[in-house]
């Protein structure tokens, strides 16, 4: 055999890059459809009465959330792990046939499970727990995929040359452990086949249906402990892993303070798990738990900002790079949106504020300044940084990237600003009453008032989707643009005009 120098092997990373883009397009397209359905309800019947079952808002909503969370975001996490992991551990996947096999297995099983999930959600099969809609057969598949991911991750760590683990690896490990624990506990369910009703019937429902092992308030508590930490370990922790690697790498700057990154890590782990109670304010869970949720939410600002400020300070003295490179712009704005949503979240977690915000569009606004401005921007930026390195070609077009940046930023701003106004209007109208306590408005009054804001949100979302398509096109064209030399890849990514 010819004795070639060792190289990093990006086969698996490339495969996951592909699914990140594909699921991103699908998930966001459905998001845009949902947004316009809320503004123009007629769109629920867009494909006629016969197919209304498949095109209505309620059938599509979980498809949106699950496609962007488990499709787009998770693929991005996997793609970046299979890239960053090798590099910071200084070991190539090519060195172990076992790891390559595990990686491929990980990818293909993942695709099969996602396909099954999409099929079942379209068919209307769901446990009706938000972000945990999959029925038990799919849950089993998810667990298998996750275990393989874990084996592949710890396998790579096991053969590393670098003794210490870079901070991003800490965050990837936390993602793995966090989601494993959350997913297992929240999806404890019993197939209805084994259940007997109080009236004595058994074998109720189809074989794939199940009921949660928890009931009532307990179910709600477990569900939001899960839901909130799905945000923590899906939308925060792995994305922080990305920024800690890709921003220093792309800018050529060392992390402003590595020590700060370590202590923010433990701070985040410590605080996040206790904050889930803020989803259940004014519900039937014990009062002290709600108060605790609020308090921990406020404390959560510290570790969140610890990471975000650390990233912004990494650019200290190098701000001309932000002006010069659209790729750095994505990351710096991403970090800023992270600060923004981790300030907004704690404000909404204050009980008196939550009394207005809960159930309103303000929450949806909060969700999307986080996911569009932070998660989406960081995943796209990471893939942009990876593309020249995995394809050994320069990024097809810098000006296209810059245009995309501005279009999407405008999209995010339209999205969250319209939802703020809509949400607060809604909250105020719902609670308005006259001196005798009669409600001042009926529900439909709020719907009428909110119509323009829903339309604006739809436009904002559409802009974001257009930007995402530009991103997909840019990456696609990168595969056949000018080949680059090794030395051009040291820090800033090479880009064509």
């Amino acid at each position: 055999m010819e004795n070639r120098p060792l190289e990093y092997d990006y086969t698996i990373a490339k495969m996951f890059m592909l699914t990140t883009i594909a699921f991103g397009i699908v998930g966001m397209l459905i998001g845009v459809i949902l947004a316009f359905q809320l503004a123009f309800p007629g769109l629920n019947l867009i494909l006629g009465d016969g197919l209304a079952e498949y095109t209505n808002f309620s059938r599509l909503r979980p498809l949106h959330t699950d496609a962007v969370i488990f499709g787009f975001t998770l693929s991005g996490v996997f793609a970046t792990w299979y890239y960053v992991g090798q590099r910071v551990l200084k070991v190539s996947m090519a060195e172990s046939r076992l790891l390559m096999t595990l990686g491929k297995l990980h990818f293909w099983l993942y695709v099969i499970v996602v396909a099954a999930a999409v099929y079942s959600l379209f068919a209307g099969v769901t446990t009706s727990k938000e972000y945990a809609e999959f029925e038990w057969p799919i849950d089993v598949g998810v667990v298998v995929v996750w275990v393989i991911f874990g084996m592949s991750m710890f396998g790579l760590i096991g053969i590393r040359r670098e003794k210490s683990l870079y901070i991003s690896v800490w965050y990837y490990i936390a993602t793995f452990l966090g989601i494993a624990m959350l997913y297992l506990f929240n999806n404890m369910e019993i197939p209805t086949y084994f259940v007997t009703s109080p009236a004595g019937e058994s074998g109720i429902g189809a074989w794939y249906h199940s009921v949660s092992m928890y009931a009532g308030t307990n179910d709600a508590l477990v569900q939001w402990w899960y839901g909130h930490n799905a945000v923590a370990f899906g939308f925060t922790v792995p994305i922080v892993a990305m920024i800690y690697y890709f921003l220093p790498k792309e800018s050529g700057q060392a992390i402003y303070s590595y020590k700060l990154s370590l202590l923010s890590f433990w701070g985040l782990m410590f605080v996040y798990l206790w904050a889930g109670g803020h989803h259940l304010l004014y519900s039937t869970v014990p009062d002290w738990m709600q108060t605790m949720g609020s308090i921990f939410s406020i404390v959560l600002i510290l570790p969140s900002w610890g990471s975000a400020i650390n990233m912004l300070l990494t650019m200290k003295g190098e701000w001309q790079q932000v002006a010069a490179s659209p790729l750095i712009k994505f990351m710096v704005l991403g970090s800023t949106f992270y600060m923004f949503s981790t300030l907004e979240g704690p404000i909404q977690a204050i009980k008196s504020v939550n009394a207005i915000a809960h159930f309103t569009d303000w929450i949806v606004g909060h969700v999307h300044d986080g996911v569009l401005g932070w998660v989406g921007f960081m995943i796209m930026a990471s893939l942009y940084h990876m593309a020249p390195r995995v394809f050994k070609r320069e990024i097809y077009s810098k000006s296209l990237m810059a245009a995309q940046f501005w279009i999407q930023t405008l999209g995010v701003v339209l999205y969250f600003s319209s939802m703020w106004i809509a949400g607060i209007t809604q909250g105020m109208m719902w609670r308005a009453h006259d001196e005798f306590g009669n409600l001042a408005y009926s529900f439909i009054d709020t719907v009428t008032v909110l119509h323009p804001y829903y339309a604006i949100r739809g436009v904002g979302g559409l802009l974001y989707l257009v930007g995402f398509l530009m991103f997909a096109y840019n990456i696609y064209k990168t595969m056949s643009s000018r080949p680059v030399e090794e030395r051009e890849l040291q820090s800033a990514s090479p880009m064509g005009a």
Binding site: P5, L6, R87, S92, R161, E162, Y166, S168, W266
Partner: protein, 73 residues
């Protein structure tokens, strides 16, 4: 004492201990500045900046001179 009260006290004690541990860790980081191997924490940033496969590790796992084929010194 009821189970709920026990839980509440237990919870408080646990939180308090974790806070102490976290602050202890911060104190350790900023006073010692180096980890048990004597490596300055800040130099770990180089794990990302110098991450080509033939770059020298910040602290190598094994102490072989040339850890693998094709390594440049």
């Amino acid at each position: 004492m009821s189970i709920a009260e026990l839980q509440a006290y237990g919870y408080f004690v646990l939180t308090f201990l974790l806070v102490v541990v976290l602050y202890g860790y911060i104190y350790h980081l900023y006073t010692k500045k180096r980890d048990a191997d004597g490596v300055d924490y800040e130099s770990y940033s180089n794990m990302a900046l110098k991450d080509d496969i033939d770059d020298a590790p910040v602290s190598a796992l094994s102490d072989e001179k040339v850890p693998f084929e094709g390594a440049k010194k």
